[in-house]
């Protein structure tokens, strides 16, 4: 029988029961590779449930550093009887099944083409512990110990991690170490060389950090100067506000008074969250909310008001599977159009597309600057894959010379000196007017903010020309945004090719890997990673320079492609959608297969004869 043999390049999947304490054990497993200098990319696959339903944790061990999901499973750690059959089916031929053999299972429960490694986890745990909860929790640590022995993870590395986790909690430290040793020794003695997957010390992690995108976004909001956070709990975005709270408690408490330089309000719903952000933004504080698709739907009326009344607003949209309640715990990039054109009437909004936690941090801070500069809503379009999974990323950086861009705010001194103030007056030709904070001056600079039509001096008006003047200026402002938002990232293959690939956000790691695979298969493509909407000229140029452009997205309706067609007037035939939308993160295998197949078809088309890829 075939036996998968691999060093520092394999996928381990854990099948667990939600709420059984497996999450921290599995994280310990994943981190142990990092400490050995081997990059990993773990992913939670979890149900919309707190306890009892199946949950999976997939760890891709990848010395080459591919952080996307690979697809396929080399070793399944099957700890959940509920999903046993499905889990066993998922193992690649020649792969391994690690399971708890305390209770014997009939032969029909296994497969002929995989290697089965049994270990009496429950028996060992029950023999050592009497408390039911301890039996469960330590069983998890015991299997981590066994896997360490089976895969060649250095035990010292895990001991170090356990030590860090239970620092100052001696009562927990020792029993965890013991459980780990128990599993390690059992496997070392009785399961020698049972698995052909091996970890070997490498030097590929470098100074990279390991963090989830939501925590990074929360930290970015602290660095970017957000003082007001109003939110309503919704998966998968809740941990953004929670991270903001955690970091603020550490970094934003005035040492002398013990008082907070932040306010976090868990609102009654998303309508109130965005309302509070609008109110705070109107009054000159940096404010944000974090939500997901259903929340954005609820917020759209306010988003239109903020667009039309020109109020800075920052929204982090951690996208999940839609529509409706959809797939709350699965990932998608399916809010692109909903956010780009959110609200009734003619509206369009600035969107940022971070690719990883590092960019969640950067884009969060950048969004606050952009919202103030442009006096408009700005969306940070992350998703569950980036937001709720820990990911290796370049360390965060901050330039201490950087100043917050508070945009055009007229001061009391300027008003006093007689500078002309018209709230909606385009003084610089960039479509961006000056604003004043409430309370600035006793007699000058006051104005009435409204969602109805107004003239350049904020006076109510229902005159057609006045309305047109205002909305045309808003278009000029959107034009200005093009040069302020993060620019797209080009990867030119260095050869003449008629194929281009456009992608964005969490598709990045899978695309990076697919790029190499396509190249190896002799398919040359240039790629452009879109980092923001509105699109600037670099995007139109890229499309113009290629005969066919694949637009890789994680939604059914090719939403970014629609946006490209609509905003750049591109011939739809030129943009070929490559779509992955089953709720799992897109893989390099998928992209490579899709693009290879289409290139093959395009190359045999009579019209394209004579042109090689």
């Amino acid at each position: 029988m075939k036996r998968i043999e691999a060093v520092n390049d394999f996928v381990v999947k854990f099948a667990n029961v939600n709420g059984s304490g497996s999450a921290s054990a599995n994280e310990l497993f994943a981190k142990s590779f990092l400490r050995m200098g081997i990059p990993v990319s773990p992913r939670n696959i979890f149900p919309s449930n707190i306890q009892g339903l199946p949950t999976w944790y997939e760890v891709r061990v990848t010395e080459a550093g591919w952080l996307g999901r690979r697809g396929g499973v080399d070793l399944m750690v099957a700890m959940n009887p509920q999903t046993w059959d499905k889990d066993v089916r998922e193992i690649d031929p020649g792969g391994y099944l690690f399971y708890d053999n305390t209770k014997p299972l009939p032969q029909s429960k296994f497969r002929e083409d995989i290697h089965v490694v049994g270990m009496p986890l429950t028996e060992i745990s029950n023999a050592t512990y009497t408390d039911a909860r301890e039996r469960q929790l330590f069983k998890n640590i015991i299997y981590v110990g066994a896997l360490a022995a089976l895969l060649g993870i250095e035990p010292g590395v895990i001991a170090e991690l356990i030590g860090e986790q239970y620092k100052g909690k001696e009562k927990l430290l020792k029993p965890n170490l013991n459980a780990f040793q128990m599993g390690y020794h059992y496997a070392e003695e009785t399961l020698k060389d049972a698995i052909g997957l091996k970890a070997q010390r490498a030097y590929e992690v470098g100074d990279r950090i390991f963090i989830d995108g939501n925590a990074a976004a929360g930290l970015g909001m602290v660095y970017g100067g957000a003082t007001v956070c109003a939110w309503y709990p919704i998966t998968p975005s809740s941990s953004v506000a929670e991270a903001f709270q955690r970091y603020c408690a550490r970094l934003r408490v005035d040492k002398e008074s013990g008082q907070n330089r932040f306010a976090i309000v868990q609102a009654e719903d998303e309508l109130a969250s965005i309302g509070m952000v609008v109110g705070a933004g109107w009054n000159g504080a940096r404010a944000f909310t974090a939500t997901s698709g259903p929340g954005v739907s609820l917020m759209t009326e306010f988003i239109g008001l903020a667009y039309f009344a020109e109020i800075p607003v920052t929204i982090i949209d951690v996208q999940r599977g839609g529509p409706s309640t959809g797939m709350p715990t699965r990932t998608q990039q399916s809010d692109v159009i909903a956010c780009a054109y959110a609200s009734h009437g003619d509206t369009k909004h600035v969107l940022l597309f971070p690719e990883d936690p590092r960019e969640c941090f950067e884009h969060a801070a950048a969004a606050l600057d952009l919202a103030d500069r442009l006096q408009t809503p700005v969306f940070v379009m992350t998703d569950l894959d980036i937001g709720m999974n820990q990911r290796l990323a370049r360390p965060f950086t901050w330039d201490d010379a950087r100043r917050y861009d508070r945009g055009k705010v007229m001061t009391e001194a300027e008003l006093e000196a007689g500078k002309e103030f018209g709230r909606y007056l385009d003084v610089d030709g960039d479509g961006i007017p000056f604003r004043t904070y409430p309370g600035t001056h006793p007699t000058k600079g006051g104005f009435f903010t409204r969602g109805t039509t107004k003239d350049r001096y904020a006076r109510y008006s229902e005159e057609g020309p006045v309305y047109v003047d205002n909305v045309q200026r808003l278009l000029r402002k959107f034009e200005t945004a093009k040069s302020l938002v993060p620019q797209p990232v080009l990867r030119a293959c260095g050869r003449k090719t008629r194929f281009g690939v456009i992608y964005y956000g969490s598709t990045s790691p899978a695309m990076d890997e697919a790029y190499g695979a396509l190249e190896a298969a002799g398919i040359a493509v240039d790629t452009l990673r879109i980092c923001a909407f509105p699109f600037n000229d670099a995007v139109s140029d890229f499309i113009a320079e290629h005969e066919q452009v694949f637009v890789v997205e994680q939604n059914r309706d090719a939403q970014l492609r629609t946006l490209l067609m609509n905003e750049l007037n591109v011939d739809p035939a030129k943009l070929m959608p490559v779509l992955h939308y089953d709720g799992t993160p897109i893989t390099a295998r998928f992209i490579t297969a899709e693009i290879s197949e289409r290139v093959r078809v395009l190359n045999v088309e009579p019209l394209k004869k004579g042109k090689a890829a």
Binding site: Y223, G225, A230, R252, Q259, M276, G284, Y404, P438
Partner: protein, 351 residues
């Protein structure tokens, strides 16, 4: 409504308040509401209240929702910033604005459609949070701007101008505000300025969530017989529990009232509410008694007005969140950004 522009010049003999402003300095644009609208009387009462309180007009932020009432912030305090938000959502915008700058005074103006129907949720939650504001509900029991539909505060059994009977029970806004945790609850009548101005003054000065429900007849759609929000009906059925005098903290003025008829309620910020009780048994610091009195009056078909409840030890959302004294909108990088050295330490903890 009138189309005559207001003259800008003030008569030199106009009386000034302690900070040198005349009442005219507290006015706004000419109202576009119907002649005789109760809402205009409320705007006038607000102008009077702010003038008497010696508050600089630009230190006030006016927020409203959508509807006839919500248009009124344009008609008073013309030099203040105002924000006409979206229907029923003024409370959340006011909350955010208040968090951004705790130094301003916040006035929320809403109507019965805005607060009791579409905005009932936000109305309840802004009271729960204790946002420091004066929330004024201009209550006429009818949708004026869309021409005469019943609102959720219309009493069951009352009739619309077209003779249709309302069969839904009414939302009791003062009772709800009390239950939700408002720390100052009053009800006035737009036709009784003498009672209304002190109620508004005390609400403005109250350091917490202050709610004033003002019955304000709609002359166009809800001032006929069969309405329970008409001028005639309210005048006939008004039962005032108290007459209020409000003294800001700097005035240690004592006025002699009849023994037993006056109670002094010192507030958290040092200001004093003086209450001349018309109903001898009424104690406005007793929340349960207040709820009882409101329910009893409603059962009797009476409109209870006056100061219904005040919590003298009230505090607000900033106190609950323990925020710094400096307004957030004045904090910069120095106070907000932890800097690169700290970021390096955070990076180190993530390896």
């Amino acid at each position: 409504m009138t189309f005559i522009a207001k003259p800008r010049l003030h008569h030199p003999t106009l009386k000034q308040n302690r900070i040198g402003y005349t009442r005219r300095d507290y006015e706004g644009k000419v109202s576009t509401l119907c002649a005789g609208c109760g809402h205009d009387s409320i705007s006038a009462a607000l102008i009077q209240a702010f003038w008497e309180l010696d508050i600089e007009p630009h230190k006030v932020a006016k927020l409203s929702g959508i509807g006839c009432s919500s248009k009124t912030p344009d008609y008073f305090l013309g030099n203040s910033h105002g924000f006409n938000t979206v229907h029923g959502r003024m409370p959340s915008v006011l909350t955010g604005a208040n968090l951004a700058n705790r130094d301003l005074i916040y006035i929320g103006v809403s109507g019965d459609g805005d607060s009791a129907s579409i905005g009932l949720g936000q109305f309840a939650h802004v009271m729960r949070r204790g946002v420091d504001m004066a929330y004024i509900l201009e209550n006429n029991g009818v949708y004026g701007l869309t021409k005469g539909q019943f609102s959720a505060t219309a009493d069951a059994g009352s009739r619309s101008k077209r003779g249709v009977e309302n069969t839904d029970s009414a939302v009791d806004t003062v009772g709800l505000a009390l239950l939700m945790g408002a720390s100052y609850v009053a009800r006035g009548f737009s036709g009784d300025k003498e009672q209304l101005v002190p109620l508004l003054k005390a609400a403005i000065a109250h350091p917490g969530a202050a709610f004033v429900d003002v019955i304000s007849p709609c002359v166009a759609f809800n001032n006929h017989s069969g309405s329970t929000k008409s001028y005639d009906y309210v005048r006939e059925h008004n039962e005032a529990v108290s007459r209020l005098d409000f003294w800001p903290s700097r005035d240690a003025i004592t006025v002699s009232y009849e023994e037993g008829a006056v109670i002094e309620v010192p507030q958290h910020d040092g200001s004093i509410l003086k209450l001349r009780k018309l109903d001898g048994a009424y104690d406005p610091t007793d929340k349960i008694a207040a709820l009882n009195a409101i329910a009893r009056a409603a059962a009797d078909g009476e409109v209870l007005t006056g100061l219904l409840y005040v919590d003298p030890s009230a505090d607000d959302l900033h106190a609950h969140l323990s925020t710094v004294k400096v307004p957030f909108n004045r904090l910069g990088e120095q106070e907000l950004c932890p800097g690169s050295a700290m970021l390096d330490r955070i990076n180190a903890s993530l390896r």
